[in-house]
């Protein structure tokens, strides 16, 4: 009875949130935030991958922008320079980025902790340099304009309104898939690896293989996000994939709560709103503020702001309910 009631409320909450999400881009509602929401959706996709990798499996990546950038550039170059269909370009980008993650996965996971962080940081820097220097393909530091829109049949995603639904379709699909993985045999194995690699091996979990698989998955997510990013902006340059971008992605994952799939929306949202609406005024000083936020969150709520808020909410609700029961 109680369980039935609880799930009824859960369904109602989900329905209301979903309706809200659908109504956002309409002009009479929150239409002026459509572009912001598109970016939040794109960054959520990358952040979820990072949550699976860092929060659940315990493997640090300070170079996630490398995969994000690979998806973006491969999509851009194939669809613009070589005239490949954008959807096919997106698929090729995801496969290539995933294959790249697979190849570097085994050597990179010989490292642990700080060394792994340094190696992934190096990966991010190398990719950024390649995006800048391979200018005959990438357009160099000035970037590359004129990337085509995505389209289905004759329906072209040429307005923000249309792209909003495209991006959030991908975003929700990625969130659902990730949630299913977390609540499965695979998800338990990932969390086991985070807890104790020795104990994981002892109960038959192939630790190296799971680490590589989750890196590949997070790379594919980042690549899809990168493709959506360039087909939205129709322009690509190295700047969104620099070291600061990797740090921002970590901030998003940490604010959302590393071990929380849905928190990724919150993390990506809070960070994007902060950078688009507030930190713009601080210019180059924003990195200091990001660093500061990262420190505060890690010290005072290492389980993440989103998870912390959820806890506080649950506690308040419990107290309210207890008061209701007493005469």
């Amino acid at each position: 009875m109680l369980a039935g009631l609880k799930s009824k409320w859960a369904y109602l909450t989900i329905a209301v949130l979903f309706a809200f999400l659908i109504l956002i881009p309409f002009d009479w509602f929150l239409g002026r935030y459509t572009t912001l929401m598109i970016f939040i959706g794109i960054y959520t996709i990358v952040t979820v991958g990072l949550c699976l990798l860092m929060g659940y499996t315990g493997q640090v990546s300070l170079g996630q922008a490398a995969f994000f950038g690979m998806g973006a550039y491969i999509s851009a170059i194939l669809s613009k320079t070589y005239g490949v269909d954008p959807w096919l370009a997106m698929l090729i980008a995801a496969v290539m980025t995933g294959a790249f993650a697979y190849i570097i996965g085994y050597p990179i996971f010989r490292l642990k902790g700080n060394y792994l962080a340094m190696a992934t940081l190096g990966l991010g820097l190398i990719m950024w340099v390649l995006f800048r220097q391979l200018s005959q393909f990438t357009g160099g530091p000035d970037g590359m304009p004129g990337i085509p829109y995505l389209s289905i049949g004759g329906f072209i995603f040429d307005t923000s309104f249309r792209r909003y639904f495209l991006v959030w379709f991908f975003c929700l699909a990625v969130l659902l898939i990730s949630q299913n993985i977390v609540r499965s045999r695979t998800g338990r194995a990932l969390r086991a690896i985070h807890g104790s690699e020795a104990a994981s091996e002892s109960i038959g979990i192939n630790v190296d293989q799971f680490k590589v698989k989750i890196l590949v998955l997070s790379a594919v997510y980042a690549s899809i996000a990168g493709s959506l990013f360039v087909h939205h902006l129709r322009f690509v340059s190295p700047q969104p994939f620099d070291f600061l971008a990797s740090v921002k992605l970590v901030v998003m994952a940490v604010i959302g709560g590393l071990a929380s799939v849905w928190g990724a929306i919150f993390g990506a949202g809070a960070t994007r709103i902060l950078s688009d609406e507030i930190l713009l005024r601080f210019g180059q000083w924003d990195i200091i503020i990001y660093g500061f936020i990262l420190m505060l969150v890690m010290i005072f709520m290492p389980e993440g702001l989103f998870v912390k808020l959820k806890d506080v909410f649950n506690r308040l609700r419990l107290r309210y309910r207890q008061r209701g029961v007493e005469p």
Partner: protein, 251 residues
């Protein structure tokens, strides 16, 4: 389980020196010896945590030397750790469910799309896990965070997680360390009932009353070499063993 000439050297330090060991299936065998005798090293070689320096490890007639550690679980070898090694942010039930890993098979894709195979296996996994949890008497704590349990129950949980892999051989590394008298008695009962399930038990243990009470065969290591083996009664009278524990003047 059998070892032949099993040796392990860390640099110049010989931790285990040409140990021949034959463990009878279905029995409780204890490995005892002073600190640094090579007991835990022997466990690490049998479970594949370290590669062997020389010699062989056999299990059910199969040479194990080249088998990676995670594959040994599906062959039926499992261990527990001196320092428990539970997973953080995981409930008691989830721990035992993770122990079902080698006895289930659905992967990333089935999990991602929640295909029927995933749902069917997941249900079987949780039912089996509850069974093993009840076996060690932790059924009522299923939804508790594992790290919130007292040490005695954490050790029982680690054993339940290991049993969930359906082993033929279980290696217990100092299961009695840190337990009080009552918990030790429960542990002895549990080890006996594991044996009755047909599982071979090897334990490393410092608590002599516990060892003498349950072990059917005792192997004594000292400075990396086997110095004696036999029943509890034989070992207690063995001059070399007394010398190793009490010093040379006992000779």
């Amino acid at each position: 389980m059998e070892t032949r000439g099993l040796s392990k050297a860390f640099g110049g330090l010989v931790a285990l020196d040409k140990v021949d060991l034959s463990v009878e299936a279905g029995k409780i065998t204890a490995i005892i010896g002073p600190n640094g005798a090579g007991k835990t090293t022997l466990f690490n070689l049998v479970t594949g945590v370290y590669p062997v320096s020389s010699g062989e490890v056999y299990f059910q007639g199969k040479l194990l030397n080249k088998v990676p550690p995670h594959k040994r679980a599906s062959l039926g070898i499992v261990r527990t750790f001196q320092h428990v090694h539970l997973f953080s942010h995981m409930t008691v039930l989830e721990h035992v469910m993770s122990g079902r890993h080698p006895r289930s098979s659905y992967g990333f894709l089935e999990a991602a799309l929640r295909l029927p195979k995933a749902r069917r296996e997941e249900e079987a996994i949780s039912l089996d896990a509850i069974k093993y949890l009840n076996l060690v008497g932790l059924g009522t704590y299923a939804e508790h965070d594992a790290l919130s349990l007292p040490l005695g129950q954490q050790k029982l949980l680690a054993i339940a997680r290991a049993l969930a892999t359906e082993p033929h051989l279980i290696l217990l590394d100092e299961p009695g360390a840190g337990l009080n008298t009552l918990e030790k008695r429960q542990l002895s009962d549990l080890i006996r009932s594991i044996r009755e399930m047909g599982i071979t038990v090897i334990l490393v243990e410092h608590d002599m009353p516990l060892v003498m009470g349950i072990a059917e065969w005792i192997v004594v290591l000292d400075s990396g070499a086997k110095i004696a083996e036999g029943t509890a009664a034989q070992i207690q009278k063995d001059r070399k063993v007394i010398a190793a524990y009490l010093g040379e003047e006992a000779e």
